[in-house]
Subunit: 433 residues, 2 copies
């Protein structure tokens, strides 16, 4: 038998994920080599600081501070872009793809912002771009959508895609503490970034929703065209109301396709999810995704959505797929077929809603609220009044029958004009499948 060929791997960025890939690739190399019939070599890695101590031991001769030198090294066939962000990461990715190399990426922000440019560069130069680690960490959801469920059209995909938000909501629910308190603790424990806004405001989830929408529907939806809301205003009052009414509150990405009109809806918001749904019981840092296909029905995928090891598992599976491709003459992979699916304006979303608002505790206020709601064309399903933390005030919690975003926004506009409504009401959506 001839000598097995050597595949050289370059890693740009030896942070948490990069070190995880290095560590697990080194550990499982023999098994992977035997399975894939090649020799795998961790050829080179780029770091920001050569002198920094790292948990994985990398010979100094293999380190550089120049990620572009790794990405364009003629010996490197597979480039792992694990730098993150959309600056250097984009340069590195495009430089490697322009040389016909294969890029493996965990970078959802880059993909969401520059997907078409990246795939065009890969196609034009005969390289490939793999991104299993960009959504839901170690859960092979990209592969499931792209390959395993290829016979299906996807009417509904929804999921918990951000581990930080799920961790915060789970602990708030479990421990009865406030958002700020749990967030501070999550930061201390390393479950939230120093700047948490990308996670808690919903943007990280929106990036991942954009990638899933592309895989399922062949269209890139910019985050600015999505409805995106975060979890920062959720309180114990909301969690308790939800629980008493048979719901958990989860930050969900919801991607729906109406096959009659062909319209695509992509949105991210905290949602009252019935406890009977599997995903309502997916807690802590776990992610979960429900995919309904017109042939297969509903399928559900659950696992750790982030962290060094889960992400490394996904990156290494992409490396293995890339090796198989390279070994086979590197012909193009099938890509999602670009589809004409008009993006529906958020105003057209239909849902049941939950509203929490503080009002002055005065005669006639309840009637004002009920009238404002009715005039906006929204029908109340359930209303309770609770003591407010403000003096001479009450908190109203209400749910509506099915309505739409336009009507509910008109309701909120009416509330804002009432002097008896104190501050900005909180609006949450209630999941219906």
């Amino acid at each position: 038998m001839s000598q097995p060929s050597v595949i050289n791997i370059g890693i740009c960025g030896l942070g948490t994920v990069g070190q995880g890939v290095w560590k697990h690739l080194a550990r499982s190399r023999a098994a992977l080599e035997s399975r894939l019939g090649v020799r795998l070599k961790l050829h080179r890695a780029s770091v920001r600081d050569l002198r920094k101590a790292r948990a994985v031991r990398v010979p100094a001769s293999r380190l550089t501070t120049d990620p572009l030198a790794v990405a364009t090294d003629p010996a490197v066939q597979i480039v792992c872009e694990l730098i993150g962000g959309t600056g250097v990461a984009r340069e590195v990715t495009l430089a490697a793809l322009r040389l016909g190399k294969t890029v493996v990426s965990a970078n959802k922000a880059l993909l969401c912002a520059h997907g078409p440019e990246i795939f065009a560069a890969a196609r034009k130069n005969g390289g490939h771009f793999f991104f299993e680690a960009s959504v839901a960490g170690g859960i092979p959801i990209i592969k499931a959508l792209r390959e395993g469920l290829v016979a299906n059209r996807f009417g509904l995909i929804y999921g918990i895609l951000n581990g930080t938000c799920n961790y915060i909501l789970t602990r708030m629910e479990r421990e009865g503490l406030g958002y700020a308190e749990i967030l501070a603790d999550a930061k201390r424990l390393g479950y939230a970034e120093a700047d948490e806004s990308l996670d808690v405001e919903g943007w990280d989830t929106a990036h991942k929703a954009g990638i899933l929408a592309f895989l399922a529907h062949g269209a890139w939806v910019p985050t600015r065209a999505m409805l995106v809301e975060g979890i920062t205003r959720i309180t114990q009052t909301d969690l308790q109301f939800a629980r008493e009414h048979g719901f958990a509150i989860k930050l969900l990405a919801v991607i729906t396709r109406d096959f009659a009109s062909d319209e695509l809806f992509v949105r991210v918001h905290p949602t009252l999810l019935p406890l009977s749904k599997v995903l309502a019981n997916v807690n802590d840092v776990y992610n979960g995704i429900s995919v309904t296909g017109d042939v297969v029905g509903e399928t559900t995928y659950i696992g750790r959505g982030a962290g060094q090891d889960a992400t490394a598992s996904a990156v290494i599976s992409d490396i293995a797929d890339a090796v198989i491709l390279l070994n086979r003459g590197n012909s193009p992979l099938p890509a999602p077929v670009a589809q004409r699916c008009p993006l529906a304006p958020p105003e057209r979303i239909r849902s049941r809603y939950y509203l929490r608002l503080d009002v002055r505790d005065r005669p006639g206020v309840l009637a004002q609220i009920a009238t404002a709601t009715a005039r906006a064309g929204v029908s109340i399903a359930d209303m309770v009044q609770r003591p407010s933390k403000h003096r001479n005030a009450a908190t109203l919690l209400l749910t509506t029958h099915e309505s739409n975003e336009q009507a509910i926004r008109a309701t909120l506009a009416r509330f804002r004009r009432l002097s008896n409504v104190l501050g900005e009401p909180l609006l949450l959506r209630i999941f219906a499948s």
Copy 2:
């Protein structure tokens, strides 16, 4: 651009699954062709009876009663073996593979019984054998284990793999009715076969467990070497006891690998599964699989395990993968690396146990039971006495602390020698992860 090549597909067996594949392939052909860059042609199909009416319309010119003629037709590149069983199905599969064709199969019994022969025939002649539909219907679990989680070693895989059993147990639990009554209804509704034994005795689950064990550990475990028990003796008494103690009863396949000794355990039995586990809440005909990898942690997959549409979804995904391979020069796919993992004897399984036994309602009997258990080296955790349906008898329900199969079997042997024990006690295992 050159004309896209034509891939001819032959279907052996136009039963429920075969018709589903024909129907959905015809419907989604344009999308698949555009994605894969080929033309797909449903070239030929074999049936048992040419005159039988079918839900899908197939031109008479494309039908034959000879499955081997389809499998060996020089024009056919991909053969779908959807006949089932291990007779004609094996002939058809091997005939196609010997001609270097690619076979797509939903046949778990065949694969479990003849896996090594089938893969050897594929390897020798440059063909491929795909089997996503053989385990858990439309859930892409084969792809997840083989590709998505390739970086992992699997300490624990467990799952609900038989929809008929899960349907029966779910309805017994929900409606408070007996096994026989629900089984009869399941047959009437088409959720159970006329001969239900393969399902309810655990053999169908064992076939699937064998396939998962092969994918995860590279070793074929014959079903005769597994511990296999079915659900036929489960009663309302057991379900109620389980529920009161925080468990659901599910027929599970459990595949464990002890990385210290390298031993592999494969077993199938009804199990008391804590309600806190996601799979305890997977009901009706749904399947669910939990896969714990040493890198990724626990991942869970849920979906319909059988039925025309879910199975067709899996078969069509295999066809798409086969087309990509064929288009790319048909080089060999990586196979699980054969591993030396000694199969542990069932006696070595450690577990907590649940026992139900009818005893004569006499002074001293409880002491006899407690003594027999203690002498066999098993320690009782919990015991309750309930009225028995037999006269002058009582039903004892007990759980043990962690023990092992050898000790619990010795306990049962001691019970059998006691004249105060009526009939054969029921033994169930309690899940601990």
